[in-house]
């Protein structure tokens, strides 16, 4: 029997396959414009790899309702918590900077004790970074690489739309691109920081979501929080691993 977790995020889709004892496969693919199509592609991959026939499947992420063959859906908040606890065996405060949502989840005995999630505003999310990179004519990686060399300029607006005009006027004023990059990263870090401040968390932090593979983000976040933010090479898959673990309970 295989236990499969499918995490359809707004940007990327992550799939984890577990057997009774181990994580045996992790797959990531872009979500694209239609999560139903993405679910179909995942189905094909799973079939090709021979996981599909005897499987319990749990879907999570914002596209969780678009997976007709899933046996159950669980929110990404519970899945990230469970995934992180599985990877670390420790009650971390999980920070998930996702495509359209940023979440701070506090764990207690491996369970969600409380959580915060941004509302419809995109400030402090991966989408915000992507948009800003776009305006600067850079990829996300290029933007963080440049930011490392820059001195942060203040981007005061919390609102993505206004921040965009702020960045454009900085460009217009001839501000150095690396400084703007640094300011953009800072504004996201500050937003996450203020969310963390709203929780009672004093524990250790663990970063999941697409940005966890970016050393510079982890470094800046650690500095701002005054604590070493941990992550893991599988942290990107925390949601799908958590979902696969929920599949074991079906």
């Amino acid at each position: 029997m295989f236990y499969i977790g499918i995490d359809i995020g707004s940007t990327a889709t992550k799939v984890s396959v577990l057997n009774e004892d181990n994580i045996i496969k992790n797959i990531a693919l872009p979500t694209g414009w239609n999560s139903k199509e993405t679910a179909k592609s995942v189905e094909e991959i799973l079939k090709k790899e021979g996981f599909f026939e005897e499987a319990k499947i749990v879907a999570t992420g914002y596209g969780r309702v678009s997976v007709p063959y899933a046996h159950k859906t669980v929110t990404e908040i519970s899945c990230h918590a469970r995934g992180v606890y599985h990877l670390t065996k420790k009650d971390f405060t999980v920070i998930d900077i996702g495509g359209q949502d940023t979440k701070v989840i506090e764990l207690k005995n491996g369970q969600v004790a409380s959580f915060l999630m941004n509302d419809k505003c995109a400030a402090g999310t991966g989408r915000f970074l992507e948009l800003m990179a776009n305006i600067l004519g850079l990829t996300l990686e290029e933007m963080t690489d440049l930011a490392r060399k820059g001195e942060s300029v203040q981007i005061s607006s919390m609102c993505t739309v206004f921040a965009e005009s702020e960045v454009i006027s900085l460009i217009g004023n001839g501000e150095k691109r690396e400084n703007i990059c640094s300011g953009v990263i800072d504004s996201v870090i500050n937003r996450v920081y203020s969310m963390v401040q709203k929780t009672s968390s004093s524990g250790d932090f663990f970063l999941t979501g697409g940005l966890c593979e970016n050393d510079y983000i982890v470094e800046r976040l650690s500095k701002k929080l005054g604590k070493n933010v941990k992550t893991d090479k599988l942290a990107r898959f925390a949601g799908s691993i958590g979902a696969a673990l929920f599949a074991k309970n079906i």
Partner: protein
Amino acid sequence: MGDYRKLWESLQMDLEKHDALCAVLPELYGSVYLSQKDRAEAMNYFNFVISEVHGLRIEELNNHRQKGGKVVGTFCVYVPDEILNALGVIGVGLCGGSQFWIEDGEKVLPRNLCPLIKAFVGAKISATCPYFQSCDLLVGETTCDGKKKAYEILAEYAPTYVMELPQMKREKDIKDWEAEIKRFINEIENLTGNKLTYENLKNSIKLINKKRRALKRLYELRKNTPSPISGLDALLVSQIAFYDDIERFTENVEKLCDELEKKISILKANRKKRLMVTGTPMAIPNWKLHHIIENLDAQIVVEETCTGTRYFENEVSEDGETIDDLIRNIAERYMKINCACFTPNEGRVEDIIRLAEEYKVDGVVYYNLSFCQPYSVEYKRVEKALKDKNIPLILIETDYSTEDVGQIKTRIEAFLEMI
């Protein structure tokens, strides 16, 4: 709905725009309400009231006015219905709950203002709400800065009277409120030409107490596990309380309760989580949060809001030898409402904890209309008190638009998984 175009025309309504509003409601009501399973038969009355929301009831208001009666519009549970009714006035609640009116509201109001205020101002200036158009007088109150200032704008469109609500609850404030009610009596006497008497006031108090008692009975039934009525249906009944004929409404709530009482014995246990909603009011047709929650594995069993317990809790004492005694009783009853516009407002925190126990709730959803300052600031104190009692709580801040429905659903779902 019958043909009311002539009536609407006589009320100087913008018929074309009003058609657009009327076109969305049946579909919304169908998908939110009529799709519910195992509803009580007696809900048909309330279905009917909604289907005639801009029709039959408006005709009733019109007939009342033809006979020389007056109609007064209100925006808050603090405006004493007892006085209006005693003086032969039909009072109607005018708070706006539809996104439809926001755009017009924003023509004269800042965007970063609570949607309830934007909606009711929009409803008036667009001339698309027949209740507004039927009013001889609007009665505001100083519950929050947004409303307070919005009445100045509203006054340009319709005769408006504002009651000054004290913001603390000392003996002095209760006396002030009593004096304010007396000024209000004077105003309504002048409007109607009728005189307040001991008899008509006492009868009015009795009538409205009966209405409160009926609603209380309905809420008592929701304490059963599982509740025999959905949160959506209970919310609808509360919303209709604000504008329906008092006697007919009371009778139909009692009928509903009779049916639900019988239903309780045959209800099967389910695994739905029991939730309380606390916070800002939900005016018709704001069913957004209830609809999201009750489509998940949960049931709303109590609302600590102005469209919930705050509307009917506490009766006006019927004891008193003189008209002044009765007015004092009214002032005392109303000053027991725990609105976030008061400081301090410990009573509300106590209410939430008491209701959480009485209704055996698994968690509390703090509902905050965007930009409603009193409630959003008060959140912190409620959060702390509930944490001490180990009662799970989630804050949902939102407006009438539908763009954040997905995110709210995820947050509520995760909250349900957590508790």
